[in-house]
Amino acid sequence: MTSFPDDASRRAWLARAARLGLAGAAGLGAWAGPLNAQAAAASAASALALKPLNFHQRLLPNGLQLLHLGGGGGGSVSVQVWYRVGGQDDPEGRSGFAHLFEHLMFKRTRHLADEQFDRLTEDVGGSNNAFTSEDATGYQNVVPAHHLERLLWAEAERMSGLQVDEANFRSERAVVQEEYRQRVLANPYGLLFNAISPNAFERHPYRRPVIGSIEDLDAATVDDVRRFHADYYRPDNAVLIVTGDYDPARLDAWVDRYFGVLRRPATPIPRHGLSEPVRRASREVKLTGPQVPLPAVLLLWQGPRADAAETPAVQVAQALLSAGESSRLNEALVYRQRIAQSAGFESLLLAEAGALVGYAIAAGETPPQRLVAPLLAEIERLARGPIAPAELDKVKAQLLTAALVNRQTPLGLGTALGWAVIQKRDPMAVNRELGELQAVTAADVQRVLRRFVLQQPRVTVHYTQAAA
């Protein structure tokens, strides 16, 4: 999992961590009065805690999962539908299809005109968006509270009555191809980013980038769209999430009225059934691009899947290595050694397999080969050397604050619930995760690094300017 490739800062991982739905157990940290700096610095992260999210859940007879939670900013409500379908479900020879399909969900249905979702959201002062990841496709609306019923009707409508014609299909496919060019071709590091999936995975469909390829998108047809909708856009493959300002009793009645009537198909939901084999050998990849301002290197290892017991320790390791200016990789490679413009370590926590990614973009004239040893050295130092309790406390405070920042809005609350369902297959995970992170010890961090990184087979990708 995942993030927005357009984001422009190293703080990105914080946003991701927040999206993982970090939540806590103990009581609310109330106003504690002025503390002095020394006292605050000395007190551990344990002084901070979050209230659990007391959401409600219900399973409709047709299999639709409903989660709802009051709170967030007053006056607005977020209505989200997350489908358990993503890039890994792209049909063979149709990479990028789940994402293309997501775009088409904004076209017409039986009773909605093209782009009428914008009439119902943005045009009344709300917003809508959607995303496709490897594991899920999420549709995320925010509207003034008095528009809630309209959105529930509309989401049920496109779950059941999507209509796609050839003209709409072609124009939206062109948009998606332009999105591909923007992300992969125009961004100086787009080609490198796009090389992660095929090099991190070899057999699981995760090996195909979610954005797909121009050729595979060209091969897609309107018939593919109809089949995909029938296969995956059904109540028993969806989670409806409502957060913010609403009346629970009316919500329940509306959900029954608009979603309760949708039929659960008798056919099973197609799943590919492929798994990722254990990697046996290391290899090196040379990649070039037409506009590479500074060379870069990627190091790819196999990692745990999102719901593995090791995941919290991996997340803490990631934070120690790359969260913030004082993180180990930034301090060593960017600040002290001055060999990198940026450096980091990320875990791709996907539902069925994982990958760990170390990376650095060179500073000045540093050749990419010279980045590998220092990157490895810092990871090894974390895996074998001392980890001060204060350093662990620091990253735990960062993770907690990120979760808190995300809980300010109905959109953020709903998103936290959604990821818990997709990644942990359990919305209650949203109230366990922060506790699990706070419980991670230095020994846990070192154990997962030894297991997944040290002496493990690795794919190394060098990225440089193509010859003129």
Binding site: S3, D7, A8, G73, D114, Q177, V405
Partner: protein, 512 residues
Amino acid sequence: MTPASVSLHRAALLTGGLWLALHAPLALAQGGATPPPPLPRAVTAPASGVPGIDLPPEPGVPAPFTLPAFEEDRLPNGVRVIVVPRRDLPLVTVRVHQRVGSAFDPAGKAGVAELTAALRAKGVRRGGREVDATTLAREAEALGGLLETAASRGGLQAGLTVATPRLAAATALVADVVRRPVLAGAELERLRAQTADGLKLAFSDPMALAGLVARRAWWGTGPNGASTTPASVARVSLADVRALHQRAAHPMLTTVVFTGDLDLAQGRALAQRHFGDWPATRIALPEAPPSPPQPLDVPMLLVNLPGAGQAGVVVMGPGVPQADPQRRTAQVAAGVLGGGYSARVNVEVRIKRGLSYGASAALSMAAEGGVVAASAQTQNATAAEVAALMRGEMLRLGRDAPGPEEFDARLATLVGNVTRQAETTAGLAAMAIDTVERTRPLADLARAVPELRTVTAAQVRDFAAAAWKPEALRIVVVGDMKVAGEALRAMVPGARLIDAAALDLAAPTMTR
């Protein structure tokens, strides 16, 4: 102005790693106007039917939106304190703003303010000891937040967002950054090198580069047109940085903003503790040199970036100064043109023709003038078509006033942008600082929505007709001109072509 930040409305692709994007060393969202939007396009849904069955159910009764209270006070030494209480979560943003910014950057030295803001966070004196950059970052991050610094035209900023129990420590830390920075030469040298590397990334990205070039092409060589470049950064000396820091170091120029889980008394007490002993000084408010728009002397500027995977296209027309009586009209006009998904440029460029992932428009205002910029990324081969479409929409707005449905939609989007910004502590802080930068009272914020509602569709059309005449528009395209150039030159006679490798944003000719 940020034409580079085309909003990628909808369909974000989630998949590993954004880190690869440019790491900007100076990160803190500039407060201020997000652009707005509008829509024409008849909705083709059945006009008759039963709401809740084959039509959307009727909306309920709207609750009136009220902005949170923006409260303020002043310390005896002149430091202004602004507090916006929001008590539902234990979270607070603290931000300090000083009213001396990049408007004071000397000619040819764009980046003094940016580097000053950043350098202040690279080492401070705390309680008599010197704390280096790494230790300071560690102390900030131990509070759970990320120490953010920024320079805008109107000010220097530093701040962070933390859980409530960390607020006092966070305020102490920000006060040290603002009042007791070391400003070491070695750290400046390091920042210059990092900034230059970061700029290499922007200069390789067609849309990012188009944004920088467009700013220069509209505002000319004054501070409003200046962008930090590797060459300008190399010219910034430690003396420049220290001089700007000294210039800002007055209580009268300083505002401390707290938003979130506290009240005015608590905010005032914290500000008093950390800023109250700062001696008051009598100074004249510094006046920045004026920087009026100086649009390029040719209608189109093409920058050749060989191998660029797309072209970045920007079409600009006059806006208004930030204090102009027509500013609300200009805001709505920019909204109708390109503020939202269903706004005119996105309808033409993306929805009807599939030429781009997104086209949008934004209004930027300064004291001396303003600009409305429509922008999009597209294939090199379709750059001319996209430029012509966006220019055509600017001209058309002067003829075709938005219809009632379109007008209401774009107005609602503008209002919605305000209400959503008010949902987060960081958004509230940015709103407060925006008024400080514009030297407007906080009460302005509550007036924004009612004032927007007084604008009419005819006023929008008349504004566009008067401001966006063909000869007043300017087009900037960055892309692979081997592919894009011919059609662009055929579209507008008199285009100027510059190679990206020869570009010098500070030079009068823009070339070295």
